[in-house]
């Protein structure tokens, strides 16, 4: 687990338009700059907010990232709930 790295990517994407631009053009190169596990890299590349939520990414980092990734608000909340339910099963 490298939750700090996951959150750092989210923070940089949320706050730096240049990082967003680079991420949009080539996700893998941007993600390779951070200490992340393969699963963390996958979850960030696919904007899998449910998995990122279970990893412990702060909701105030996750919500803006979800919005910029094209997720509508109710779908974002539903994805978090689905991830929790799946873990509970």
């Amino acid at each position: 687990m490298s939750l700090y790295g996951v959150q750092k990517v989210l923070f940089r994407l949320n706050n730096d338009p240049d990082v967003r631009k680079r991420f949009a053009a080539d996700r893998d190169t941007v993600l390779a700059e951070y200490p992340l596990t393969q699963e963390e890299r996958r979850a960030l590349a696919e904007a899998d907010v449910g998995s990122l939520h279970l990893m412990g990414a702060h909701p105030l980092l996750l919500a803006p990232f979800a919005g910029r990734s094209g997720l509508k608000w109710p779908d974002y909340l539903a994805a978090l709930q689905r991830a929790r339910d799946a873990r509970g099963r």
Binding site: H58, A78, Q81
Partner: protein, 273 residues
């Protein structure tokens, strides 16, 4: 010497300006007139500057370098950081009371260790109250950001101490200064529980705030706040600063209206300073 000329606390949830129509007509009919009454009081105080105490929301700081308290010392501040469609507040620059800010930060540093920045960006925490209270954005501000976000956060007792230190600093100044806490009370932002409120917790906290009950305001453990007031409940730190800074002043509630659509109890209170 000029004493503190205005003191208040009010919520800052993004839905207030971003999606006002989501609240019921009854809720809006209580909440927005109360914010207007706060605006009238602020205007009648004829302030030279407003100190605004709000919470960090990953707008300025991250866990690479997270200050407990940070005073803005800049000549002006860009905001809001959020996109205009989200907050419905146009991008602007808010003037900073830079000389006052530096003097306050210097005096406060006698008692409390603070960080300072000349590059703060204002998010909804500052911009929602400013939009409702000073929509022309001409009143110079001193922004104070508290880490209400990433543990370890400053202890509630330290926030009370910051309030004391701020008041001592304000009372040495010649300007007409106001103090506003922005944020709280219980809320669960950006998680499936969003919209859940703990109205009883809010009511009890507000009463302690109004009566400056130091021991009651600072009795909560971090786990208790998280459980009973949600991850957003840590923002009561801003309110604790104002309650400490106005000890002895009579408190008054202008609004206490639970508004799940804004994910908060619409709490607005003033101190007769």
């Amino acid at each position: 010497m000029m004493p503190l000329a205005f003191a208040a606390a009010a919520v800052h949830a993004p839905g207030i300006t971003g999606r006002p129509q989501n609240a019921t007509e009854q809720q809006r009919g209580v909440f927005f007139p109360a914010y207007r009454r706060l605006r009238e009081r602020l205007e009648s105080a004829r302030l030279d500057a407003l100190i605004m105490v709000s919470a960090e929301h990953f707008t300025n700081f991250f866990m690479n370098n997270m200050p407990a308290f940070c005073f803005g010392l800049a000549e002006d501040y860009p905001g809001p950081s959020e996109d205009e469609p989200f907050l419905k507040i146009p991008k602007t620059r808010v003037p900073g009371a830079a000389r006052l800010a530096r003097a306050l930060a210097t005096a406060v540093s006698e008692d409390v260790d603070i960080a300072h920045s000349e590059e703060l960006v204002l998010d909804h925490g500052f911009m929602v109250p400013l939009h409702l209270l000073t929509p022309d954005m001409r009143l110079p501000i001193v922004p104070v950001v508290i880490n209400c976000l990433a543990a370890p956060r400053p202890a509630l007792k330290r926030c009370y101490a910051l309030g004391h230190a701020l008041r001592r600093a304000i009372d040495t100044r010649a300007e007409r200064v106001g103090l506003l806490a922005c944020g709280g009370l219980s809320h669960w932002p950006a998680v499936p529980e969003s919209g859940k409120l703990n109205v009883e917790w809010d009511r009890a906290f507000l009463e302690d705030f109004l009566a400056h009950r130091r021991d009651a305001l600072t009795r909560y453990t971090e786990a208790e706040i998280e459980r009973d007031a949600g991850p957003g409940g840590h923002e009561v730190r801003a309110w604790i600063v104002v309650s400490a800074a106005t000890e002895g002043a009579r408190g008054e509630t202008l609004c206490f209206e639970p508004i799940p659509a804004y994910a908060i109890t619409g709490a607005i209170a003033t101190m007769a300073v």
